[in-house]
Amino acid sequence: MSTRPVIQLDGDASSPPDVLGHKGHGIDMMRRNGLPVPPAFCITTEVGVRYRAEPEATINAIWDDVLAGMRTLEATTSRTFGRGPHPLLVSVRSGAAVSMPGMMDTLLDLGFSDDVEKALAAEGSVEFARDSRRRFTETYQRIVTRPAPDDPYQQLRAAIESVFTSWDSPRAVAYRAHHGLDDGDGTAVVVQAMVFGNINANSGAGVVFSRNPMTGANDEFGEWLPGGQGDDVVSGTVDVEPIAALRSQQPGVYDQLISAARSLERLSSDVQEVEFTIQDATLWLLQTRAAKRSAQAAVRLALQLLDEGLIDEAETLRRIAPTHVEALLQPSLQPETRMAAQLLATGLPAGPGVASGRAYTEVDAAIDAADRGEDVILVRNHTSPDDIRGMLVARGIVTETGGATSHAAVVSRELGRAAVVGCGGGVAESLAGKVVTVDGNQGEVREGSLQLSAWSEDNTPELRELADIARRVSPLRAHARGDYPRLDRHTEAEVRSAMASGHSDVVSASPLLAMLAAIRLSGVS
């Protein structure tokens, strides 16, 4: 062991993310910068690696350190784990060196017994105590796959072991394989004092992005769930409100939140996605990470950060993957177009593609409309074989019921039609007669006939600006025209061979892509 197995995340942890885990490192960084974060400690990734080889011996060896960590949480919060009158509950979360959102397990509200529930009822309310305990017992049963024991320390131990084990869950293994991450590591575990978004009307949970991760606009963006806990927001099973709702409900807390998100963005030099909880009008930040973003946003945000002096030109280009640029050059529904159109229905994306037309709910009417030359969207409760003719004339298909294997989903994919299925009862009636756009990639139906468009290296200002930067940074300058040798394609092999031949300038149909390849090849930093 090169470090202590259990490290307090009090702003003084002074260990890198590959020891503390990504989440633990973020918490420590926020504490160091004076942001409001509930006290926490982490069990390091080194323990996570050892646990995979020798579970029993490893957990025994570190248990006294875990107990010491709990004593510190108790002292900091002035609460006691497992008993009243002011009981401490904790969350137990995974935290690998590289963030793997949603891939591993999280347990909230841990530390319940009958006495603890009574004490919490006296402190908050009977409903709050009961709701929290229900959340705990359901999640524990699901993740640990047995009923929760009455002893909070047994709960804690089993939860920590489950999180360590979840590193090898099939979905986590598949995620690492897909993203080319190392399987041989392990996860850290973060144990953090709970704060409660479900305690009263001035409470809730949400996630805020320091800038819009879809359009790349320089506006805060996010979701807010009054009276909820963090897992409700992530689960997608509850209807959340836009973050603007928090601004009208608790303007002071909102300003504090946005200011925290902006300062995290400056500290990390990247756009952040911050999970937060508000407990009785007090703001708490739970974790922060670089925001997942669309290709459009990747380009716009990198250019904004460059303008504001947060990153340099080389870093700007590193933030943009060639796949981002390639995606932007294909026709697609641009995020700003999509976000500006009213959302009429959401369901499962069942057939990829985007299609617009007038919604018809009867096959005969759909066929007649198509015969008149109209673009048709077929909306049905569900489809069956006698709907085929209607599906054939339709450009997009929407159903109220059914999942990814339903008739509508299977046949839409077979016909190459954009499809969204399982949108819920009443959708056929509410869409009938409207001109709508079916987004079979996002699983949405939006109002109006939305046009697809593509960016181009010649005409899109953002890509021209990037190309100008690339010509200053890249060892190979690529131009759209000029008296230089011609690069037929922008593949790595062609770019490498041009550089090996000593060319410093070439003409290319995709200058930006050629230079991004050259920068990657030469490892410019």
């Binding site: 006698d386 085929i388 003719r389 339903s406 046949v411 994919r413």
Partner: protein, 193 residues
Amino acid sequence: MSELGVLQAVRLKGRVSRGDLAATLGEDRFDVIDRLVSSGLLLDGPTLRLSPEGRRRLEGLLADERSHVDTAAVLAAYGEFRSVNAEFKALVTDWQLKDGQPNTHEDAGYDAAVLARLDDVHRRVTPTIAAVATQLPRLSRYSVKLQTALDNIHAGQTMWLARPLIDSYHTVWFELHEELILATGRTRETDDA
């Protein structure tokens, strides 16, 4: 009986050409079709479809057919069908999508593994159809049509797995599902989609 067979086939297909109708019935019943057209039960054109009177006539014939069956036996067969239905739908989806993306059919091993599951599904559904055909002999035709689709798939014509408008395995399967839902007196709204 042949009138019921023709009307039900037209209902299941929605709109169908005379040629496709003959193919799904396994015989040319132009005599019956012409009679149904002249009596106004079928609407003629490039494709045939049911008139409102035809739909009412079909519902009467189906109700009459249902009144002679042992409902418990049909329900038992339907239960067995549902147990294999989920697996069939999952394998069709796995055929179309690989890792959430459209299957490019470049991975022969993957495709072969999915199609092997179809053989198992076929083994399981065949006795179920035989059982329900003791009550509704008309439905034994579905076994023949599934076998034809399976033979075509085995011969390398994989469009016979899920392609609409032809009697692919998925098309026949789904029509059989509709028949079983009808025969048990249910509707799809009360069932799964």
